[in-house]
Symmetry: C2
Subunit: 339 residues, 2 copies
């Protein structure tokens, strides 16, 4: 009960494999009559081309690889959805790997994808990734590579990002505009570019408004969890009771902080104003609802695939790949956690 092959159809019809193949692909040098016969038999035998053979012959599989630091995460799963939806439209399949924020794993996974000969790779870097050889290898081998969200500026490939610096600047400016005088920042790990950029935006906004930058008001977390938010909120109350505004690197941590402040009777936004980042849908549900930066995950995924697709097409036509930086718009969503 093996699946039918071209050979089966050919023997059934007493013609050659070549003609069958061409008939199914509507080559002009096959008569209408033969085409009809072949197509009909293919239908009844439920013929499906053997993808393995096609891959080998065409040196392509219409499959791309996606490496992402963490799947269980609203922003990232939105990106995945964007990627898959777009890939499906263009007839591509997506193999997903999770780096778990580990550089070592990320490197292995790149190797794995290369050895599986995916047509291209989409990646959002692990926090710990500081060496980029594995990525440059991919590019050197002529395989299209597009980075998104957590990128490395030094790698010469296409990137889909937001202007983290500007967005963070706007978030901080909003705190200042609504009267905050002493603004803390809960930030992510030292390495990833967007964590750095958001911090720089925060700092710049302070400086542009003549407010002194105080390093002791910057709290650094390694993994963004709800609990970290609770913990940092406690720390703020203990160490800096004069703080009246916080710009938090990511909504989940901000919501942890809000919960902890609520628990301690701290009034938001009267006592402390908070701005998050990402516009996780839960941010509108929490009390008080969270003012935040809207970061378009689904759109980012779509764009990342679209760019990769362009490069895949360019490669097929033996045209050179020109890296492109795509910057998506963000916006400040004002809610009840700021005045």
């Amino acid at each position: 009960m093996k699946p039918a092959t071209l050979k089966d159809i050919a023997e059934h019809l007493g013609i050659s494999v070549t003609t069958v193949s061409k008939a199914l692909k509507d080559y002009p040098d096959v008569s209408k009559k033969t085409k009809a016969l072949v197509k009909e038999l293919a239908q009844t035998l439920n013929y499906k081309p053997n993808a393995f053979a096609v891959n080998l012959r065409m040196e392509t599989s219409n499959t791309i690889g996606l490496i992402i630091p963490e799947i269980v995460h609203h922003f990232f799963s939105s990106v995945i959805k964007g990627i898959i939806s777009q890939a499906e439209k263009k007839g591509y399949l997506v193999i997903i790997l999770q780096s778990n924020e580990s550089y070592e794993l990320e490197k292995k996974q790149i190797d794995l994808l290369m050895s599986k000969r995916v047509d291209g790779i989409l990646i959002s870097l692990a926090n710990g990734t500081a060496d980029f050889k594995h990525l440059n290898d991919v590019i050197e081998q002529g395989k299209p590579l597009v980075m998104f969200d957590k990128i490395a500026k030094l790698v010469n490939c296409s990137k889909v990002i937001i202007d983290d610096r500007k967005a963070a600047y706007n978030a901080t400016q909003h705190l200042i505009d609504t009267g905050c005088k002493r603004i803390a920042h809960f930030r992510g790990p030292l390495l990833p570019q967007n964590s750095i950029d958001r911090f720089l935006g925060y700092k710049k906004a302070l400086e542009d408004n003549g407010m002194s930058y105080d390093p002791s008001l910057v709290y650094i977390f390694d993994n963004m969890t709800f609990e970290v938010g609770e913990m940092f909120a406690q720390k703020i109350l203990r160490e800096h009771p004069d703080v009246d505004g916080i710009f938090v690197n990511t909504d989940l941590v901000a919501i942890g902080a809000i919960t902890e402040f609520n628990r301690n009777g701290v009034k938001i936004p009267e006592d402390i104003s908070i701005v998050g980042f990402s516009n996780w849908f839960m941010s509108s549900a929490i009390t008080p609802s969270l003012t935040t930066i809207d970061q378009p995950g689904f759109e980012m995924g779509k764009m990342a695939f679209k760019q990769l697709f362009k490069e895949l097409k360019a490669k097929k036509k033996k045209k050179p790949i020109v890296p492109k930086i795509i910057e998506l718009e963000t916006s400040l969503v004002k809610r009840d956690s700021t005045k």
Copy 2:
């Protein structure tokens, strides 16, 4: 600059392709000396077997397909993570497709995966799936298939599930035990089995406790969103002000309801007690925190892949596949939304 092949190595060393292939796989009929030479050259040429050729020859790709109704969802993304983590350990890659709760799309995607000749398929059904031909076709073709969470009882394949009926029964019983006299139920769509089972558990608990079942207290939603929760909460206040307990099919909707009740000054759990389902991590963060049923998503993903892996191994050894039902334990997590 094409990647090296066995032929390249063979020519370099003046030996046959056969010997090179066998040397790399440590066949006993290749001398140690030759093996050493081959392996060294393979190393320096950075030889990687052409996966396409291996796939064709071995009729297997060490790749499985995963069809899931919705990716941006805490429970499902946890399942995905469980599947991928386990698959990676066994050297399998996972292609993910999203059915978007559409039966039509689900059918197409099954076809796509079959034509791509994945080694096996994992699936959680779309809500609308009532016809199972596409699934039975997969089984008939001898391709391992494992269903999880949203399953079809009538399809004869392995399944990884929880006892939705029992869990719902326990949830409802908890409401009764804490003094609720009139208990509503927010349930999911009519078709999927777990939606049915949770409803049946709710009903059975009422009956076992001598409480009459009132159909007007059952609210049905099509897509589980935060907003549905808000809407149903309003409805309850309008239509059934005497309700003092609600068992909600899923946490997200429950949290929507809690938010709406908070907004209207309804006290939880004093006026209305609420029990959710899933133990979404946000449930512990909301105020009041949500009593709910813990549903082990990551574990479910792991188990689903493990079962599929067993069947893949059985198939390789030409042994028959024996469908197995794996039931995971759930537990009631008591929090502040019930007395």
